[in-house]
């Protein structure tokens, strides 16, 4: 099939370096991946086209890039799955990280965040002579998250990182979960306490983008939610993040509909009155636009509140 690869290029050695798109037209086989296409360009048309790639089989994690606007492994993306004959495929470097050249990004910040979560097992001492005994299901469960190949695709498309680069990010949090859920690791509470801090597990906005793009089915956001649940379960000291979840639930339980001013007040509390005051401009704008909802006693429960409460009771008995 005739395909055009439109590649965003960038060469830092150009006299005035700036990104630009270059089109490559080539004939591809129906079994070819986007990586096959790029390699074909590099080997037959233009060897200056720069990318990382190695295994060709979605296990080394080298060829993460954005394809038609979403991050993916080029080797795992079949050309036919995203373009009909004659169509153009747009290829760009991953987002949320600096570009070195063409499709090659600087992964150093990525690894810095992985290191932040202290990614090594800390088992109880002393170690047994033989292996640590562990339930088979626990290891099978961990296999799902150990499948992560650190390709950076989830980080590229993380919508939180786009606005706040201090967020530890989906890959590091999934990696953290790998230790928190490992029965052999003896520092679960310490880990959860660290993740409970700002920029940690409570900063995810649950946009699901990381689950969508992960090429290995790791489901980073699901792992983040599991971390939060574990944190609440282990009663790690309450933070704005965990209180937000608790207050949210409490309000829904009693009113059936969110009381937003109360949510903010109770989440921040007296301790974070500064952050509460920081919301003043937004409140003013809301007042100006006539969008201040009724709060406290004025915020009445919905008519069918008993249904909501029945749901709560049901969930409680089930878990």
């Amino acid at each position: 099939m005739q395909t055009t690869l439109r590649v965003r290029r960038y060469n830092p050695e150009d006299p005035e370096p700036k990104p630009f798109f270059e089109d490559y037209q080539l004939e591809l086989d129906s079994s070819d991946s986007v990586l096959d296409g790029l390699i074909k360009v590099r080997e037959t048309l233009d060897d200056s086209l720069t990318l990382r790639c190695s295994c060709r089989g979605a296990i080394c994690g080298s060829c993460g890039m954005r394809i038609n606007g979403h991050a993916a492994l080029a080797c795992k993306t079949k050309v036919v799955s995203i373009a009909a004959s004659g169509e153009t495929i747009e290829v760009e470097p991953m987002n949320n990280m600096p570009v070195i050249k063409d499709l090659v990004t600087d992964m150093a910040p990525f690894w810095e965040k992985i290191r932040q979560i202290q990614p090594w097992m800390r088992p109880a001492e002393p170690a047994p002579i033989a292996e640590y005994l562990a339930p088979p299901e626990s290891m099978n469960h961990l296999a799902g998250v150990m499948s992560c190949i650190m390709c950076g695709v989830c980080v590229s498309d993380c919508t939180v990182l786009e606005v706040d680069n201090k967020f530890v990010g989906p890959a590091a949090l999934a990696k953290a979960y790998r230790f928190v859920a490992d029965p052999r690791d003896s520092t679960t509470t310490t880990r959860l306490e660290a993740l409970n801090e700002p920029n940690g597990m409570w900063d995810c906005t649950r946009c699901m983008e990381c689950i969508q793009v992960c090429p290995k089915g790791v489901g980073p956001m699901d792992r983040i939610m599991a971390l939060r649940a574990k944190g609440l379960e282990e009663k790690v000291p309450s933070t704005c993040g965990s209180r937000h979840a608790e207050v949210f639930t409490d309000i829904i339980k009693h009113k059936g509909i969110l009381d937003e001013p109360m949510l903010a007040i109770r989440t921040f509390g007296l301790k974070h009155v500064g952050r509460l005051l920081g919301m003043a401009p937004m409140v003013m704008q809301s007042v100006f636009k006539g969008k201040v909802p009724l709060s406290g006693p004025l915020h009445r429960p919905i008519a069918s509140i008993q249904h909501i409460q029945r749901l709560f009771r049901r969930v409680r008995t089930k878990s």
């Binding site: 037959t44 060897d47 990382r52 190695s54 060709r56 050249k101 990614p119 170690a127 296999a143 150990m146």
Partner: protein
């Protein structure tokens, strides 16, 4: 750029062997750094799917059985002292990995579980689903992060350097991101740079497996051993040659020809699909050659294993078959064929990873160590057993790291001049200065790969090998006319491809030289003009020494036999 510090131990490559070596040297108190052309977790150790062997006594297994089956698998070319070390130390090394955090599959008692693998009668392969290599690699990298060892990521080595006494004293490398050269001084260098699969087309190997370490050591005077022993894996996908793990057959999958017969019954009546890899690959090739295949393939049948089982224990190949072959393993037959997979040969080392002989029986390069696929201890001899390669990296990586650290304590820091890197800088400068358009590196590589896959594959004979040799010489003659469009210093992957091609041509030449020399059939080396194994003349290793511009020099070493005399090999 300021010159890097002098290290006791400098490891080239950050796959399993390299990281294990670095960690063990570090535990010995040595100053250690790793230099690697890709980030550690991008290494090809990732690709090992099925598992890692060990005979654990408390599971009723015996290390002697593991050792014997390894020797038999090697077609009696493995050095038995090395195999004994491998089999005896395997158990402890696997427990160490588990303690580091590898999530090995468990049995119902919560102990490490096992599965069956080829060439072995007992289930002694420990595993993590079907991504054992990846699970181990990421855990070793965790350990590396904890130890805070310096890693020179994305650096490319252009040559090993020696002091005036001929002792390996470091290396010359450039940083891929900037193109800047540095001279690295080190008391010892451990080569752990992996295999050479890309010498062949197709190959299961990743694009980075270009035999750099073998070529670098060879050019610096270390001998390569048993290079003719190239393993073809029985189950690879048509097209790009991606690997389908032996664990599929270990877990009960069948091999069928186009008539639906389980043809292995004719070739290996007892072990069937789980005969050793050379035997199965040859059987498949005969079926295909005699018209009982289809489109150059036979079939892997996993249907009776059931979807849930496949997803749980063989999840990666289940997805791989879907993505890369459009086949549903639970419902359909998967076309597969033998494909180049592993180099049993490599840089000759002793059981401590030394690339020189302390007793002086063979000439080597003092100060250089090697471990993993790039090395040849020899553990695998004529044919490696599945799940012994991960074990090789762990046991002999650890031993090489330990010995290098100890050895470094006994010698003084090397004194070599910065001028040693000028030659390599000039090579790169002249490469960039070549006026195009000349030939493309990729075109030459493809010719090399196809030539090797045609003449130096499952079946070989003298005329074919000779013509392959001539073709490789012709490609070497054309190498100087290869040009690149990218003239920059930053991340010039075009230039790296040309340098890798140069390494690979040396490796190809060595493979052919070994294959022409060994006039018998043993393990993966099957000569249609010498059909039998010849223990009288060929119970020995072939050592090759680099001769610039000429065919390599030969030397021979007898196989080290301890307790297993060669027998007829039947599966």
């Amino acid at each position: 750029m300021p010159s890097p510090p002098t290290y006791d131990v400098l490891v080239v490559g950050a796959g399993l062997a390299g990281m294990r070596a670095a960690l063990s040297a570090h535990q010995q108190g040595a100053s250690v750094a790793i230099l690697t052309k890709v980030h550690p977790v991008r290494s090809h150790s990732n690709a090992a799917q099925g598992g890692i062997n060990a005979a654990l006594t408390d599971r009723g297994d015996k290390w002697e059985d593991h050792a014997f089956e390894t020797v038999k698998g090697s077609d009696y070319l493995a050095d038995q002292d090395a195999v004994e070390v491998l089999a005896q130390e395997a158990g402890q090394d696997i427990i160490t990995l588990e303690h580091m955090g590898v999530i090995f599959n468990r049995n119902d008692e919560g102990q490490l579980g096992t599965r069956r693998f080829g060439g072995q009668k007992k289930a002694r392969t420990f595993f993590v689903s079907d991504f054992t290599g990846q699970a181990m690699l990421h855990v070793l990298y965790e350990q590396l992060m904890q130890a805070k060892l310096p890693v020179y990521e994305e650096w490319f080595v252009t040559s090993l350097v020696k002091d005036e006494k001929g002792h390996c004293a470091g290396l010359v490398a450039f940083e891929i991101r900037t193109g800047q050269f540095s001279l690295f001084r080190a008391k010892t260098v451990i080569m752990a740079s992996g295999g050479l699969g890309r010498v062949y087309e197709p190959s299961t190997n990743a694009l980075i497996c270009t035999g750099d370490g073998m070529a670098l050591a060879y050019r610096a005077g270390a001998p390569l051993m048993d290079m003719e022993m190239v393993q073809y894996h029985p189950t690879t996908l048509k097209g790009k040659g991606l690997l389908i793990t032996e664990a599929a057959r270990g877990e009960g999958a069948y091999l069928l020809n186009k008539h639906g017969d389980r043809f292995m019954a004719h070739y290996a009546p007892t072990m069937l699909e789980l005969a050793s890899r050379d035997v199965v690959s040859r059987a498949e090739q005969i079926e295909i050659n005699e018209g009982r295949g289809m489109n150059g393939c036979v079939f892997l049948d996993c249907r009776h294993l059931g979807r849930t089982f496949l997803q749980e224990r063989l999840g990666q190949i289940y997805a791989e078959a879907q993505t890369f072959a459009n086949i549903d393993l639970a419902e359909e037959l998967l076309p597969i064929r033998p494909g180049m997979h592993y180099q049993m040969g490599g840089i000759k080392t002793d059981t401590e990873g030394r690339c020189w002989d302390i007793t002086g029986n063979w000439k080597g390069l003092p100060g250089l160590f090697a471990a993993g696929e790039t090395a040849c201890v020899s553990l695998h001899g004529g044919n490696r057993l599945g799940a012994n390669s991960l074990l090789d990296t762990i046991v002999f990586g650890r031993r090489a790291g330990q010995c290098a650290a100890e050895y470094a304590r006994t010698i003084s820091a090397p004194s070599i001049s910065e001028h040693l890197m000028e030659k390599d800088q000039q090579v790169i400068a002249s490469l960039l200065a070549r006026k195009g358009p000349g030939e493309r590196a990729a075109a030459l590589r493809l010719e090399m790969g196809k030539t090797m896959n045609r003449y130096v594959s499952v079946f070989r004979e003298q005329e074919g090998l000779k013509s392959a040799g001539q073709h490789i010489q012709a490609l070497k003659a054309r190498w100087p006319s290869v040009t690149i469009q990218d003239k920059g210093q930053v991340f010039n992957t075009g230039m790296i491809a040309v340098l890798e091609l140069d390494f690979m041509l040396d490796c190809a030449e060595a493979i052919i030289a070994g294959a022409l020399t060994r006039t018998e059939s043993r393990g993966a080396h099957f000569r249609t003009d010498y059909l039998d194994r010849d223990d009288e003349d060929w119970l020995q290793h072939i050592l090759l020494y680099h001769q610039p511009g000429k065919i390599p020099d030969n030397d021979f070493l007898p196989v080290h036999i301890t307790q297993w005399q060669p027998q007829i090999r039947v599966y």
